[in-house]
């Protein structure tokens, strides 16, 4: 019987099958940040098991609150920093080199097709964009991952979503994933893998594929997955060129992680995006989506462009394209957070930062900060944010605040007008 991508990865990493449907997998990488890892580190110390399974396979970063905003966050950073030094974790990224984990680690070449990855962060599903099985876990799973290099999962059922048609101008990966979450519901893929396939995905850059996979968890999915192809190869080539004779050998190796033609899916869905419009969320659940034009009158107080969903260079280019030559409305605050130092540098070199600053945006250092209301852009009670992030939960960016999720293009256009609005990049297709 044919296998899905996740089934192939499970079958190549299984070390035990302790019960029906429970599969203990060997991990290729364990990613760590300063919010969920310190408790695991302290627990390992308390148990007398302060060890790491393989210091080369552990990658760590301080990203959620950086630079530290108070004594508590300074202490979280210190626990992670001291631990990384103690165990000689080479790939530890501190201030000056740090960025948002789900953008930084792919950028460093740490994610490969067919890999198994866990992190104490629900948006770990982002890395499925490379054809890896990457899952968010809690601190206990992380702790066992750190000292044993294993994690237990249920055998995955997969939903395959074939994204067909062609995207209209001004409609982006963010709109596609919002439309898919709206279709599946916040519980529609719980305990399942979502394979994103079809011509629209094939045409997407890695940045766009990461945006797509990033929000798979908002439909409950364990991981999103794209098939590793020529685009994946070109992105990874600088990191893997010593491992393969040439690009075609590498591509052949990647194709081992494509699904078999007779793979069995829990559901196969065709999702045609030819008539898709830019979308925005309303309410407090990410499956509550509407076309931007239906939310047009919504006044906003803050615009946030950044996060592991939309803080990549492509996102900044699109937002800058909309903002160029404009000022943001004088009753809104604009905040842009490039997701890594490399992206920040690229944006400077390309003149994007001047466009943001001329428009009236505040540019912050790379951090998760405002997305979960921890720093650099917390909302006051009753305030409304147009945000390129991934969660519109009540209170997420600040108690009593309201979040509308949207693409960077829509966020930039909304910053100029002061209310939610479509960007001029959007051109409706004629039926």
């Amino acid at each position: 019987m044919g296998k899905t991508v996740a089934e192939k990865i499970f079958d190549s990493h299984r070390i035990d099958n302790p019960a029906d449907n429970i599969h203990v997998l060997r991990l290729d990488a364990v990613f760590c940040h300063e919010i969920t890892t310190p408790v695991a580190i302290n627990d390992l110390i308390a148990r007398g098991k302060d060890r790491v399974f393989d210091s080369r396979k552990i990658k760590a970063v301080i990203d959620h609150v950086t630079p530290a905003k108070d004594s508590k966050t300074a202490n979280q950073g210190k626990i992670l920093r001291d631990w990384a030094r103690r165990h000689r974790i080479h790939d530890f990224f501190d201030i000056g080199r740090n960025g948002i984990c789900h953008v930084l680690f792919p950028e460093k070449g740490f994610v490969r097709p067919g890999h198994t990855i866990i992190m104490g962060d629900s948006h770990t599903c982002t890395h499925g964009a490379f054809g890896a099985f990457a899952a968010g876990v809690g601190t206990t799973d992380l702790e066992v991952g750190i000292f044993k290099g294993i994690c237990a999962f249920h055998y995955p059922q997969t939903i395959r979503i074939d994204i067909t048609g062609t995207l209209p101008a001004g409609v982006f990966a963010k709109d596609v994933i919002l439309s898919i979450i709206g279709r599946l519901g916040v519980n529609g893929a719980t305990n399942k893998i979502v394979e994103f396939s079809g011509p629209v995905v094939t045409a997407m850059s890695m940045d766009a594929r990461m945006t797509l996979c990033n929000m798979a968890v908002e439909a409950g999915a364990t991981s999103g997955l794209c098939y590793p192809d020529q685009t994946t190869l070109e992105y990874l080539w600088p990191f893997i060129q010593d491992e393969y004779a040439n690009k075609s050998t590498a591509l052949e190796a990647f194709k081992k992680f494509w699904p078999d033609a007779d793979a069995t899916y829990e559901a196969e869905i065709e999702h045609d995006v030819s008539q898709l419009e830019p979308l925005v969320t309303h309410g407090f659940k990410p499956d509550q989506v509407r076309p931007v034009k239906e939310m047009n009158a919504t006044e906003i107080d803050q615009i946030y462009i950044g996060s592991c969903t939309n803080g990549r260079i492509e996102d900044l280019r699109i937002a800058a394209q909309v903002l160029k030559g404009h000022k943001i409305s004088d009753h809104v605050r604009g905040i842009v957070s490039p997701a890594t130092p490399k992206i920040f540098q690229q944006a400077l070199d390309e003149g994007l930062m001047s466009i943001f600053m001329d428009a009236g945006f505040c540019v912050t250092n790379p951090t998760c900060g405002a997305c979960l209301g921890m720093s650099t852009g917390v909302l006051a009670e009753g305030e409304v944010c147009a945000s390129t992030t991934n969660r519109n939960f009540s209170g997420r960016m600040g108690k009593g605040g309201m979040i509308h999720l949207m693409s960077p293009a829509t966020a930039a256009a909304s910053a100029i007008s002061g209310h939610i609005t479509n960007s001029p990049l959007f051109k409706r297709k004629k039926k």
Binding site: T36, F284, M374
Partner: protein, 174 residues
């Protein structure tokens, strides 16, 4: 092994997320106990009053997709800090459910009809849940009403609860 019995707190809404269970502003805490006072501080639920409704409760009964959102294990820890070790719901988000068992806590899924019945017959009154893990049996008592409900529990999940969590289990098996 933890205790899985006591007074029930009914939370009548689907999709209660981990930001509602424990808000991100408290993720800077590195002790589990410190989270206890902030359980459900941001929940959107009509009539809910955390200072009135949480104290003295040991079991939560809720609807579908409980614990969706973030991976933060701070959510089960905030429950544990309030002596709540059992959540009964129609369904759970994957990471939250795994975090519960990884901590040696219990996440029990019951069919929607049973959950509907529990809300209809027991909510808004003092309800005591007694759990018999070995029999996979819940005894639900509200005033004169007393009923027994069987619940599913896989051997692996039982092993985690009995071991006290995944760290103990993994350390003795791998």
């Amino acid at each position: 092994m933890k205790s899985f019995s006591g007074k029930a707190l009914f939370l009548d809404r689907a999709d209660i997320n981990t930001d509602e269970i424990i808000a991100a502003r408290y993720l800077t805490e590195i002790s589990k106990v410190a989270l206890g006072a902030h359980l459900f501080e941001d929940i959107t639920l009509d009539g809910f009053d955390m200072s009135r409704d949480i104290p003295g409760k040991n079991v939560i009964i809720s609807r579908a997709n409980f614990g969706c959102g973030s991976s933060r294990e701070h959510a089960p820890w905030a429950l544990e800090a309030n002596a709540i070790n059992l959540v009964i719901a129609e369904s759970f988000a994957r990471i939250f459910r795994q975090n519960m068992f990884n901590c040696g806590m219990l996440a029990v899924e019951l069919p929607v009809s049973t959950i509907d019945h529990l809300f209809q017959s027991h909510a808004n009154q003092e309800t005591i849940v007694t759990t018999h893990l070995e029999k996979q049996l819940l005894i639900i008592e509200t005033g004169q009403i007393k009923e027994e409900i069987n619940f599913p529990l896989s051997d692996f999940d039982r092993a985690l609860v009995e071991a006290g969590g995944w760290v103990e289990y993994a350390d003795s098996h791998y």
